[in-house]
Symmetry: C3
């Protein structure tokens, strides 16, 4: 089975944010809609395979996705500080500066972290490690809402 | 359905290059070949699923793939400049220097950006964001031609 | 077909390690178990598809996976040295320091390299390039054993 949906995230401030529950709800919401539309299916998880992969893709070039520590908020603050040191917001270093000093640095940070993450699905659930959460990495000062495409493949 | 092909990219100079159209043509070319071989199939998109994923893999350790801004060439020049600052081509820093001063730095850059990208397919097309393009990141001075494996999974 | 297994790697010292053979053995072991359980299947590769993808996921936030050069050990030593320069182990730079000076730096390195790699499967084998190997990137001084989830999708 292949299943896909679009998820629009509300705007968040610049920084690193846990979105694991929003992802889980998007998968669960699909189940509820599926049950309403297809009453012949008895399983409460008819749209989530027992075994497979969830691919999450962000359709933007100045925000990214990662999987990292979900317990201590200081980890996410340290990410923001480290990436600001590693990719300094200094317009004299860049040609592409018309859209603000946080624009080119956001393109760079987003490719260093990546536009997608893929998570195994085991027994119908995301098989994350104990301390792992899914992160939205918002690199812009005012990035606005962000659009994700979730694709599930499995059986 | 699962479909796979190999795509060899012509040599490009060191730097960051948009290859979205070459990827799309490789997918379309497969459709044409498929139609020639299988005249019983009426759909012009018989080899591209309606919904699924395209995985693109580069079979090299000194070039990489990314998804980023496709409109302004200055973004790609700024990537080249930034990665050269972040991974300085200074042989005194490295042991692995026999293949030239751009070799070890290319291995490092390629793992920071990654050997593959995965793009959702929606309604039979790559579901990229408005500003997103697929990039070949050529880190070597003379990298030669580069070989990609494209794998499509969907239904 | 979709197939999944868990692979626990023995503890390794901090640094970059090739694990390609352990991955191949986990896939081959599944074939042997499959043959024992399903004597009606004649193919020695019944659990490995002819064409598809292998997704490898590490369930940790202080170690990561990469695909890079498999021949010369100095490449892996240069990775360790470079990542230590790029992400300096200086507690004065971080808030999250209670678990040791190598903890926050490990979280950062693991997201720069990533929690998963995906490899094409062609003719029933991993379709890696000539010089490519799969790496475990152990960022902690004493990371202990590391758990991977392998998922194969194909046909």
């Amino acid at each position: 089975m292949v299943w896909q949906t679009q998820l629009t995230l509300a705007p968040r401030p610049r920084g690193f944010h846990i979105i694991t529950e929003e992802i889980r709800q998007a998968l669960a919401g699909s189940r509820q809609r599926s049950q309403a539309n297809m009453p012949q299916m008895n399983s409460p998880q008819s749209n989530i395979p027992k075994t497979g992969l969830l691919h999450i893709f962000i359709q933007h070039t100045s925000a990214s996705l990662a999987i990292n520590e979900s317990a201590d908020p200081s980890v996410r603050r340290d990410f923001e500080a480290h990436f600001n040191r590693m990719v300094p917001e200094d317009p004299s270093l860049f040609e592409h500066t018309l859209e603000g000093s946080d624009d080119m640095t956001s393109h760079l940070k987003s490719s260093m972290l990546g536009q997608s993450v893929t998570v195994p699905i085991t027994n119908g659930s995301l098989n994350l490690g104990t301390w792992q959460g899914i992160w939205l990495c918002e690199h812009r000062n005012r990035g606005g809402s962000r659009r994700l495409i979730l694709t599930v493949i499995g059986e």
